[in-house]
């Protein structure tokens, strides 16, 4: 069994990483920066599940509704997220198609899949490949904000393409849902604490040794 900070009565401050002695279940102020520091007791999965579930629900309108509408000489054409990828494929812009596909389709899906599998792992004490699961969590943490590419592209197009009746771009209803998916998954990732799984598995290992 490895020695963790928790087993020694120490809790690392999440802001400045200072170790603090916490003997009771009270919330104490970090000795260095004053942040609230508390012993991790049971994993609080409910909040993460709630955020994740909301993201999954909003992922549907984000993909079905148009994210923007291009009005050009009286003709309107609506674009969905996947439509943007298809457009780049048709015009042989493969690299761009890949970038947009990864940022707007793959990353949100990957985030939701990885997070729910991690939540299940904590709940059911699935302790296989802890190292790989931790790597996956760090990957999700890292790629999270890159889904914002679509929102920024729409913002840029809306601001740039304002040539009256020749061409203009309007924001579609899907983009708000998509922005919500990005934010909700970012918050769910931040709320999830990877140490929950390590704690649960230490405990399980301890039980097995008794």
């Amino acid at each position: 069994m490895s020695i963790t900070a928790l087993s020694q009565g120490l809790v690392a401050c999440e802001h400045c990483s200072q170790l603090n002695y916490v003997h009771t279940d009270d919330v104490v102020a970090c000795g260095r920066c004053g942040s609230a520091v508390q012993r991790r007791s049971l994993p609080r999965l409910g909040r993460v599940w709630a955020l994740l579930f909301s993201a999954v629900v909003l992922y549907i309108p984000a993909n079905l509704l148009p994210v923007m509408t291009v009005v050009s000489l009286g003709k309107e054409s609506s674009n969905t997220l996947i439509g943007g990828v298809v457009h780049f494929v048709q015009t042989d812009a493969w690299l761009l198609a890949l970038v947009v596909f990864v940022a707007s389709i793959l990353v949100p899906l990957l985030k939701m899949l990885v997070l729910s599998s991690l939540l299940f792992s904590v709940h059911f004490r699935w302790c296989a490949r802890l190292r790989d699961k931790t790597r996956l969590y760090r990957l999700v943490e890292f790629i999270g904000k890159w889904s914002m590419v679509d929102i920024f592209v729409i913002a840029l197009l809306v601001a740039l393409v304002q040539f009256g009746e020749f061409a203009s771009v309007q924001v579609g209803a899907g983009s708000l849902s998509f922005a919500a998916v990005v934010l909700l998954t970012l918050w769910a990732t931040a709320d999830f604490d990877m140490r929950w799984l390590w704690d649960v598995c230490e405990e399980k290992e301890g039980d097995a040794n008794v």
Binding site: L156, A179, L186
Partner: protein, 199 residues
């Protein structure tokens, strides 16, 4: 100097020796980065000042200039955030403004607040509070993502309008690089050691 550290991802208790600039210490159990040998307070201060100047430059100067049948259109960060407001999409406008303008300014402002008094041998007022604000705000800075979006937009527009090269984009690129450098080089331990010496 040996210091006890808990791994941020798996809570393993470890002893970490002193690191030189550019060195990293990894957790032996889960590979998380425990500590990065960060730069001095002076170096961080220099980056903060450059960051603030570049923030102002990239706010006003255009990041994209296009030519559409003879009509030229220049776009700054400021205008990008505000264009959404014209279509009553104020939530999206807020999100774009927050991630490209406001959060970087809070980041730099908090940094200046934390570093400037130290140079005069004083502990900053409300040091813990500003430090926590700095960390809470950090994740909202999305300049690299915005830069990728600029490239995607530029290619998207090629069949509709002509892209005009403009030097002012360099201000934004420099701004983005300075902000990334700060995130990599700021070391909370180096900072709190400096605060401790002033007390």
């Amino acid at each position: 100097m040996v210091k006890m550290k808990a791994c941020p991802d798996c809570d393993l208790l470890l002893e970490v020796g002193h690191l030189r600039e550019g060195e990293r210490a990894l957790c032996p159990r889960c590979d998380a980065v425990l500590v990065r040998g960060g730069r001095s307070i002076d170096a961080m201060f220099a980056l903060t000042v450059s960051g603030l100047i570049l923030w102002l430059a990239s706010l006003i100067l255009p990041v994209l200039v296009i030519d559409f049948n003879g009509t030229q259109q220049a776009l700054s960060l400021w205008q990008t955030a505000f264009a959404m407001l014209d279509q009553d999409e104020w939530l999206l406008a807020l999100l774009v403004a927050m991630t490209t303008i406001v959060a970087p300014l809070i980041y730099l402002g908090a940094m200046l607040w934390l570093l400037l008094p130290l140079r005069f041998g004083r502990v900053p007022v409300l040091v813990g509070w500003v430090f926590r604000l700095f960390y809470a705000n950090q994740g909202w800075v999305m300049l690299e993502v915005f830069f990728l979006s600029l490239l995607v937009t530029a290619v998207k527009l090629t069949d509709m309008a002509q892209l005009l090269p403009d030097w002012s984009l360099l201000a934004f690129i420099a701004f983005m690089l300075v902000m990334s450098a700060m995130r990599l080089l700021f070391d909370a331990d180096v900072y709190w050691r400096a605060v401790h010496q002033c007390r």
